[in-house]
């Protein structure tokens, strides 16, 4: 038993190192953000060729079982990729698609949909995203307002989904709905009649989609999950999404701190590098502590999430992680602007792009305050 565990962890270590190396090679050693700069504000939002390369590297299949063409790995591995890509501010919807939509589909009850689409998803041929949120601040609302009325052979969906990350180039939406007063998840192709998508800009140059469904007809074969299974699959997808978004927050914080420390070492005022001044050294140290703390929680929670004994403890872990990483990344990136002085407030300076990505990741999938409240409500008798 112990031996098996030991060899498993040695194997984990080896393939995780390979994974980390492949991410570094992908983003350029110094986390090159030229690509991110070029793509920000574009209507495509991200680079489909880069997405296919990510598929070739196996990253899109990290959470997909090998029976469906994936790598059958776990959240720690997905975390390595997400963290590394976030260092270069990659705009691709890894969390929205390869984590959330993938987890929702894999957790659903339709073997036919899984057989047909999981391998395509792993290959980067289909890019689905999850469309579940309807109101700002209600990212984990239990019951959607969007209605699915049953009819012969399928359902008619009517309602609005908002704040959909990765919508710009998505070709499928996994839409949560209420069908006969019970939750359900539907596989809705973008070109379905009665489906309209609008895009709105985000602080980091990416976009949120608003999906309006008006009597959109979805066949029975396109039901991903119903009832309890739909609620469970969605809840798991949201928790995993929050967790891997936290890995991105860590990557952003870590790179922003590196950039700022380099600046402290090289910027000269009063005849000395400004990093020699104790006031700035201590600020740098406080940011370092936040970054390390977030990293420690990330490592612990990504290992524990997949083996959480029940949905409540899984959600509590995810909330603990998202709260810490959101706060840490916001603090590091905000104060990084201050450490840079006026140059930090220019669009030419990279540091501002890190602040903007941190803002978006912290505001998406539940703010730190929301997650802390959810943690208290879930994790102890105190919340009840």
């Amino acid at each position: 038993m112990t031996e098996r565990l030991a060899s498993r962890s040695a194997a984990d270590g080896a393939h995780r190192t390979l994974l980390a190396d492949s991410v570094t090679a992908f983003t350029g050693r110094g986390a090159d953000i030229a690509r991110a700069r070029r793509l920000r504000g574009s209507s495509e939002e991200y680079d489909r060729a880069a997405w296919r390369r990510m598929a070739e590297l196996g990253w899109l299949g990290i959470l997909v079982p090998d029976t469906h063409g994936g790598l059958g790995l776990g959240l720690p591995e997905m975390g390595i990729v997400a963290r590394g890509l976030a260092r270069a501010l990659a705009p691709e919807p890894l969390v929205a698609s390869a984590v959330m939509a993938t987890t929702a589909l894999a957790g659903g009850g339709s073997e036919a949909l899984k057989r047909e689409h999981l391998p395509r998803l792993v290959a980067g041929e289909t890019v689905p995203v999850l469309a579940w949120q309807e109101t700002a601040g209600a990212w984990d609302a239990a019951s959607p307002a969007l209605q699915a009325r049953p009819l012969e052979g399928g359902y008619r969906l009517t309602g609005v989904k908002r704040f959909i990350a990765g919508a710009a180039q998505a070709d499928v939406f996994l839409v949560s709905a209420l069908a006969d007063a019970s939750p359900a998840l539907f596989w809705v192709a973008r070109d379905t009649a009665g489906v309209r998508l609008e895009l709105e800009p985000l602080a980091d140059g990416r976009q949120f989609g608003t999906l309006t469904l008006t009597d959109a007809l979805v066949s029975r074969e396109r039901v991903v999950a119903r009832g309890r299974q739909a609620a469970d699959a969605l809840a798991r997808a949201l928790d995993y999404g929050a967790a891997v978004a936290s890995a991105e927050l860590c990557g952003v914080a870590e790179r922003a701190l590196e950039i700022s420390l380099d600046y402290l070492r090289t910027r000269v005022q009063f005849g000395k590098p400004i990093g020699s001044f104790q006031a700035l050294q201590h600020r740098g140290v406080d940011l370092y502590i936040q970054k390390e703390l977030a990293g420690a929680v990330l490592d612990q929670v990504l290992e524990a999430l997949g083996e959480a004994p029940d949905a409540a403890s899984r959600a509590a872990l995810a909330s603990r992680l998202k709260a810490r990483c959101s706060d840490a990344a916001l603090r590091v990136t905000r104060e990084s602007i201050q450490l840079h002085g006026a140059i930090g407030f220019t669009d030419d300076c990279d540091i501002g792009l890190y602040l903007k990505r941190a803002l978006v990741l912290a505001g998406w999938l539940g703010s730190a305050t929301q997650h802390r409240r959810r943690y208290v409500a879930l994790s102890s008798e105190n919340g009840k």
Binding site: I289, L293, Q300, R372, S380
Partner: protein
């Protein structure tokens, strides 16, 4: 001797829990101050008889040689039951140092008595003019024939009046860079020429002392390690100390009180309180993750680097935030000394608050820890 590591983690945890519940003196649960030797003597004996005095020591010296998972379980069960910290500097600090730097004779002479409670240790580092700038210490040890003669004054020596021995840093060479002329000694406090004077602290306790050395003659065997190697030895010991100080255990005491009082006052229905509670609760949970990483590193036998300073900063500052909130939710009772009754819940608000105050000062102040991190970890220019 029992191999505790051979037990399953669950069995070991159950064993610990049952042991604390049946044997630990109820009057000493959650006492929120350093326990005195006379209070802890009986408990020490029980731990000793069970072989549980030194979880961190190797088994060859009578320790438990406990692996990381069980160490955490043991600490958690102690914390859960409110087991106070005994005068344990011999176990956490000087014991490991003697094992690493001492002679065979010093090991045989001091380690068994340290385990049994025959030797109680206190730490003689700080001096009136050597606080944060510890390396400028002036207490001297001069070799005269087959003895060292020690003169000087130590201060902030916790529980010196309970101790039988002191481990101290003294200057043995004034001609070299200040760090390079310091040696590490162990001295019996009964030696003629030593005077101990307690100092009353903000909480009203006489927990720390001044220790005066006036022509104190000690044998050459009082020197640990090489002459003038004391600074490096003390630094090795400081990382043990920072790991121990960085344990989530003490802030957890305070958090449990906070939760009990908040429940008694119905504060969990107040969203304003819940937000503040959640912040400190998670600061503490996340401290445990940070701490766990360092414990794993120590257990793998790796040296703890200067990064350990961040653990002390975060642990101590978190502890203070918890006790700040505790005093606040105590309302009027929060500013009344002694144990208060809040709808049946007992809490000593001020003691908890005072206990956390010096935490960002002792063992290297938070500002010194930040200097260390800036210089040795972030590599910022000097």
């Amino acid at each position: 001797m029992t191999d505790w590591n051979a037990m399953s983690d669950e069995d070991f945890r159950r064993e610990a829990r049952e042991f604390f519940e049946s044997e630990y003196p109820p009057a000493l649960r959650y006492i929120l101050r350093r326990a005195r030797w006379h209070e802890m003597k009986e408990w020490w004996r029980k731990l000793y008889e069970k072989g549980w005095i030194a979880p961190n020591w190797p088994r060859e010296w009578g320790g438990m040689g406990l692996e990381a998972g069980k160490m955490v379980a043991l600490l958690e069960e102690m914390e859960r039951h409110g087991v106070a910290r005994a005068p344990d500097q011999g176990i956490t600090q000087v014991g490991p140092i003697i094992m690493q730097f001492g002679t065979e004779e010093q090991k045989r002479r001091y380690l068994p008595g340290t385990l049994s409670g025959e030797f109680i240790w206190c730490q003689g580092y700080s001096e009136p003019n050597a606080g944060s700038d510890l390396a400028s210490l002036q207490t001297s040890a001069i070799r005269v024939d087959d003895e060292f003669v020690i003169n000087g004054q130590k201060i902030w020596t916790s529980l010196a009046d309970d101790a039988t021995h002191i481990y101290l840093l003294a200057r043995t060479d004034r001609q070299v860079k200040k760090q390079a002329g310091i040696s590490f000694f162990i001295v019996n406090l009964q030696t003629p020429g030593i005077t101990i004077r307690p100092i009353r602290n903000l909480a009203g306790h006489e927990e720390f002392c001044q220790v005066f050395f006036d022509e104190v003659r000690v044998p050459l065997s009082a020197l640990v390690g090489q002459l003038n190697e004391g600074w490096n030895i003390a630094k090795a010991l400081l990382s043990f100390e920072r790991l121990n100080i960085g344990s989530p255990r003490r802030p957890q005491y305070a958090l449990h009180r906070l939760e009990a009082v908040a429940r008694a006052r119905g504060l969990f229905a107040d969203p304003g309180f819940v937000d503040r509670y959640a912040a400190v609760k998670l600061d503490l949970e996340d401290l445990a993750a940070l701490y766990g990483g360092f414990v794993e590193q120590a257990k793998r036998g790796e040296a703890l680097g200067p990064e350990i300073s961040m653990l002390k900063i975060w642990a101590m500052e978190t502890w203070q935030r918890v006790t700040d909130l505790l005093v606040e939710v105590g309302e009027e009772q929060g500013v009344m000394p002694g144990v208060q009754d809040v709808a049946g819940v007992k809490a000593d608000f001020l003691n908890a608050f005072y206990y956390a105050r010096p935490a960002t000062i002792y063992g290297g102040s938070s500002e010194i820890q930040r200097n260390i991190l800036a210089k040795y970890v972030l590599r910022l220019p000097g």
